[in-house]
């Protein structure tokens, strides 16, 4: 049994590595003229190779994988933390917090004289969308933690997350109804986009992954203990409040970074851990790392499709992750029922 599980894990790892490598190549080949290996070859040796492949396609490809990886990791962390397979990275208020940050920056100039001063508007505009989204995501989670009075009780934390999400979303709508110019930008943020990921974004995403992954990994044994129930975990000597706080921190960091760089990409965080667990049941250490890899693979796949389906136009990448992820979940549910 253990041997069979080990084999499945190995198979999953091999599959994810192969898929990632293939998709990385596809990511370099998929451009505004559709995708073909022959044109990639021509582009690579053309005058514009450094620009088109080096500065646009490569960072976009790597960035999409890293964003997906952060979301996959955050999803696996959230599902372990809440012991709930429906938990996703946006649960603790980070999504609506980030959206509020973005909307405030977008609406700043329009709201001068209607509640905010010119100086505030200027400051907001200078912060920029990325920083505002990141700050908003973290503030959303902090607000949730404050409402839940720490991470002691998961139910309270979940409920606080829902309340914060709803309240912040309402504020979002309030701002956009006062400054309708911000609507389009908000819509773009809600759909998510990998189009403008450059090397600077990749550096931020990579650093975030390097920070959050070891953090989550170190706590994976605690997540394993939690699966036995809170009392058992406590009797094993686990200091639940502190462990949860650390997990929430890793979750917030990973989600905040992903969201600030690429917007609210749907479903990757929810589906990636399911994909991994289905293929190879394993302790949380493996699940966390593999979910990150699966998330990266899934988002990169969606990104390549987004670029090539109707090139040179683009399908919003969030639409594709929702379709791919949602389709997979439906298939999973159906399979379970008939199994």
């Amino acid at each position: 049994m253990a041997e069979a599980d080990r084999q499945r894990r190995v198979r999953l790892v091999v599959m994810l590595v192969v898929l990632t490598v293939l998709l990385l190549v596809a990511g370099l080949a998929a451009g505004s003229d559709g995708w073909s290996l022959r044109t990639l070859w021509a582009t690579l040796w053309g005058d514009e190779a450094g620009l088109i492949v080096g500065q646009i396609r490569a960072p976009r490809t790597v960035g999409a994988w890293l964003t997906g990886a952060l979301l996959g990791l955050a999803g696996a962390t959230a599902q372990g933390l809440f012991r709930n397979p429906l938990a996703d990275p946006y649960l603790l208020g980070s999504a609506s917090g980030a959206t509020l940050g973005v909307v405030l920056v977008l609406a700043a100039s329009a709201l001068v004289g209607h509640g905010i001063s010119l100086a505030t508007a200027d400051a907001l505009a200078r912060i920029g969308l990325v920083a505002a989204a990141f700050a908003g995501a973290l503030l959303g989670v902090l607000l949730t933690l404050a409402l839940a009075r720490g991470a002691e009780q998961t139910t309270r934390l979940l409920l606080a997350g829902v309340v914060v999400s709803v309240v912040l979303a309402a504020l979002n709508d309030l701002v956009t109804s006062a400054a309708p110019d911000a609507l389009r930008g908000k819509q773009a943020f809600l759909l998510g986009s990998t189009g403008f990921l450059g090397w600077a974004s990749c550096a931020a995403l990579g650093a975030g992954l390097l920070l959050a992954l070891p953090m989550a990994w170190r706590l994976s044994r605690a997540l394993d203990a939690l699966t036995l129930g809170e009392d058992s975990a406590r009797s094993l000597g686990l200091r639940l409040a502190r462990v949860r706080m650390a997990l929430v921190a890793a979750l917030a960091l990973a989600t905040g970074l992903a969201v600030s760089q690429a917007g609210l990409i749907a479903f990757v965080g929810l589906v990636a851990p399911h994909l991994v667990r289905r293929f190879a049941p394993a302790p949380h250490g493996f699940t966390l790392v593999a979910s990150a890899a699966a998330g990266g693979t899934l988002l990169l796949m969606a990104d390549v499709l987004a670029r090539s389906l109707i090139a040179p136009q683009e399908v919003p990448v969030g639409v594709l992750t929702a379709l791919l992820g949602g389709g997979y979940l439906l298939w999973l549910l159906r399979k379970r029922r008939f199994a």
Binding site: G31, S32, D33, E48, L51, I52, Q55, I56, R57, P59, R60, S109, S177, P180, R184, G185, A188, S193, G195, F196, L197, G198, W199, R307, A311, P312, Q313, E314, P316
Partner: protein
Amino acid sequence: MKPHASARPVRGVQRLNAVQPVRAVLLALALCLQAQASAQVSVRDERGATLTFSAPPKRIVSLLPSLTESVCALGGCALLVGTDRFSNSPASVLALPKLGGLDDAQVERIAALTPDVVLAATSARVIDRLESLGIRVLVLEPRNHADVQRSLATLAQLLGRPDEGARLWSAIEQDMREAAMRVPPALRGQRVYFEVDAAPYAAGAGSFIGQTLARLGLGNVVPAELGPFPKLNPEFVVRAQPDIVMAAKANLGDMAKRPGWAALRALQRGRTCGFASEPYEVLVRPGPRMGEAALTLADCLVQIAKVR
């Protein structure tokens, strides 16, 4: 009843005299009807619905900024009793009640204003609700030059000033011709990238903006096949290397920071048009100010030619 019956073909010479008075009555009746018909207006909207009014409407609600502008440009500004919240031109409409947007128009307030007709876009959710309340809705949504011309004609008819539509359109045409003449010859045929949103969405050759650019003798990096406002892969723009980049000022400022976009020669050489929010609004509304928009574009092109 009677006139109808006596209108049957009359046989026999001896009855000729008896017909004369009937004719007179008929003539009077026809004159009467015609007098009424001159007040009556009948217009067809984009759904194909024909709306007939016994007299030109006296109270109008407009739920689309370009229609608000059109009504005012046709001299009907005083008839407007309310607009959507986005209508902001001409300045006089700012004082009117704001009745929400495309998806959240306030049915109760609109009904309370007892408009004779509501002007709305095809996608407005409120249409069915208003019609079920017995309020007449004229659906118009100009998307290109021909649409604008047609909608101006329709609105002119509605206002009971059928000639105004053609007059206004020829004024727009006149402005476009003048703008085209102002474009420096060196810039004719240059390919433009006109960004309408940072996502990036661009104005394609088939959009009304693309049509205006074509009138000015300019090319477009986005072909008409991609639709009026396609969401592009950012790489497409970098590869297309447009000769001139046009966008709202706020978006233009950040463009060079996008991955790879610093390589755009138009950005490097300052061959750009960054529009402040007011002129930009004129540019992105398919309405009576399209001529003004063309002149704005021409002004920018003159500046670009100077930089060179």
